[in-house]
Amino acid sequence: MATPATETLDLAVKFPGAVRADTRPGFSGWVVAPEKLLEFAAFVRDELGYDYLVNLCGVDNLPEGQMEVVYNVYKTTGGPGLIFKTQAARVDPIEIPSLVSIWPGAELQEREAWDMYGIRFSDHPDLRRILMWEGFAGFPLRKDWKEAFHDEEIKPYKSRWPDGKHTYAEKRSAYGDNINFEPGFDPEKWVPTDPEEALYAALKKYKSEEKDGIKTDHIIVNMGPQHPSTHGVFRAVVILDGETVLSLKPVMGYLHRNHEKIGERNTFLHNMPYTDRLDYFNSMTNNWGYSMAVEKLMGIQVAERAEYIRVIMSELSRIQNHMILIGMLLNDLGAYFTPALYAFEERELILDIFEAVSGSRMMCNYFRFGGVVRDIDETSLRKIKDLVFDRLPRKIEEFDRLLTENEIIVSRLKGQAILTSEDAIAYSMSGPMLRAAGVPYDIRRADPYGVYDRFDFDVAVRHNCDMMDRYLIRLDEMHQSVRILEQAVRQLPEGPISSQKPSYQIKVPAGEAYGRVEGPKGELGFYVVSNGKANPWRYHVRTPSFVNLTALEKMCVGTKIADFVAILGSIDIVLGELDR
């Protein structure tokens, strides 16, 4: 289906000696020598048309003594993607050329690979740690790096299962807490270094100037991590000239919960409830992305009825997400909580359905490999029908009538923070952000998964590339979601809800898979590598919130500081998946 297909053109012949096909069993794509990486990437983008870098992540191949970087590229005209890798010996310093000059969207993702693996990307404009702080000891995702509460390499831990003789993590750790220091570390003699220093150095230097005899200074403003407009613990450092933003750097990692490190210790099924906690508004779509990646690895089909249930759940999820987004965006614009309260009313009704089918309001943990965990009961189905055929279309209309022509909204949003189509693609924007910039790219259409190819719906697209469009596209998408839901509810077939027998432990053959779904916030991708054992060797989450922030500075420079709040609101970030 969406497996990255091998180009008919043999790239190994095109780049003799520098490119070879990845022949490991279960792997696909190309392995590129680091020296030729830039040339190869430019060729892939310009000649083959893979203009959209979707995912970039490091992999630590400890047994082979290699550090690997994986790139997933796609065409914005649709179709399957191309995957290529580059490998370097696992000896510090590990140098790999940066692709920011080819795809600016690589910037934050490369910083993440540096932070987690210590892969130095040469010629990267601003290579600093991103999720951890500057000065943190070690590169945590390396396979030989152990956390303070380290128990065993993989789960289930022998201390817990089958005998259940667990110990307190605090007692296991040398320091009696989740902290670890080099032997001989002396906190009294240690000279505190400012973790912020590199950050301020990376910002454009602020300066004072004399204009018309008045001495003016640029000022630095820190917004966050505790700031009501940042939707959580996001932080942005801005340099201002008066009220105009001159330069801006996003600072993140305040909710970095180590999903990937924990995920590589977990068994495959263990990770399902963790994905709920990525984008905690949309646990249903998160489940789907992850189960899709693992289903690809296992090569199994999903039960027919479950496919429809999946569509129903993720489209309901999309509607409530967009409603909350609009409510919160309006909060940021100053409509203090009124639209948000309207949104939460509808959200509660959708959460009722989630709770009825899965047992939990927010953390649904509903999908299983090959299907879903429980069937929809009659009452829930009736509630869904009521919502889909009656209430939701009315309420979406109500939002439209209530807000769209509001003078304040129009004057705050229209023509603001333009992001052109070219920039949106270059910065790897995805989801509504990309479609509001005039690129009709929707994974449900461009690289269909599940049963989306059976439904009749339009890819919402807007062409003004401004904030107003980013607001309107959410309304459009809600309408389309209702359309999909109407068809899915009508066509819902009878039958089993899973193609697999329920089991705690599944057999996953060695290989790699990249599962991507159109989440409400954008492309949610899971890159999973299995080595045939009970746990994923690599579990990487490509989240829309994280990658969409690459263009934040681009959109903010030149606007007023108050607009920064609105721009951030229109991107629709959620900290759980931004920091992971």
């Binding site: 951890m132 702080w133 000065g135 943190f136 000891a137 945590p140 956390e147 303070a148 509460f149 380290h150 993590a169 605090e170 750790s173 040398a174 320091y175 807490d177 989740n178 902290i179 670890n180 220091f181 080099e182 032997p183 001989g184 570390f185 002396d186 906190p187 009294e188 240690w190 505190p192 973790p195 991590p225 505790q226 700031h227 009501p228 959580g232 613990v233 990692g253 305040y254 909710l255 970095h256 919960r257 180590n258 490190k261 924990i262 210790r265 409830p273 963790y274 906690r277 905690y280 508004f281 948000a340 309260l341 939460f344 009313e345 509660e348 309001r361 927010m362 953390m363 900290l575 759980g576």
Partner: protein, 220 residues
């Protein structure tokens, strides 16, 4: 003040003549003092993770914390009474949280909402996760759940009201001239790992011990 409120305040055993009902209450100073505080607990507008969404839901239509006088979310710690630690506490965030706590004026309370804030939750083993806010701040109420439902949060906040009811103006620390005006916690800082200033001697002793060749205690 409405009639019901005064009747609530009146201590049992004191009969109020019918003609004075609603105008008079015989009660203790503690009761009046606590009545005021428990009926307008202002939480800090400060969400860390998933639990924050349930916190917002608890404020919104269906659950409506305003019924208990808890609807006024304050973005500034200076104006808030209770810090609802709603979500996973990370090492990177920890200095900021302690600083916020120190900036809150007395009387101040801390509610640990959810598994993560209470003890690390599903993310406890993570290298960037603080296993429970109580490693740094004194917690008044723990609310279980991942995330706790809005009902659970409301129940937790009612527990906090009960705790406030039991406090006496004679003994509370913020009126006790002998002690500090306000509890302040030493702010941890970010070094090679999170360093708690209160534990520096302990950390030093342990790291020196681990450095001893041939280090028999290295596999602690």
């Amino acid at each position: 003040m409405k009639d019901e409120d005064l009747r609530d305040l009146n201590l049992p055993g004191y009969e109020i003549p019918p003609e004075l009902a609603g105008q008079l209450a015989i009660t203790t100073l503690d009761r009046v003092y606590n009545f005021g505080r428990r009926s307008s607990i202002w939480p800090m507008m400060f969400g860390l993770a998933c639990c924050a969404i349930e916190m917002i839901c608890a404020q919104a239509g269906r659950y409506d914390m305003a019924r208990f006088g808890m609807e006024v979310m304050r973005p500034s710690p200076r104006q808030s009474d209770v810090m609802i630690v709603a979500g996973t506490v990370t090492k990177k965030m920890m200095p900021a949280i302690v600083r916020l706590y120190n900036q809150m004026a007395e009387p101040k309370y801390v509610v640990a909402m959810g598994a993560c804030a209470s003890g690390g939750g599903p993310f406890k083993e993570g290298y960037n996760v603080v296993a429970g806010i109580d490693k740094y701040l004194p917690v008044d109420v723990y609310i279980p759940g991942c995330p706790p439902t809005p009902q659970a949060l409301v129940a937790g906040m009612i527990k906090l009201q009960e705790k406030i009811d039991k406090q006496s103006i004679k003994h509370v620390r913020w009126y006790d001239g002998k002690k500090e005006d306000s509890v302040a916690v030493a702010i941890p800082y970010l070094g090679p790992d999170l360093i708690d200033p209160r534990r520096i001697p302990e950390i030093k002793a342990k790291s020196m011990e681990l450095a001893q060749p041939p280090a028999p205690a290295a596999e602690a």
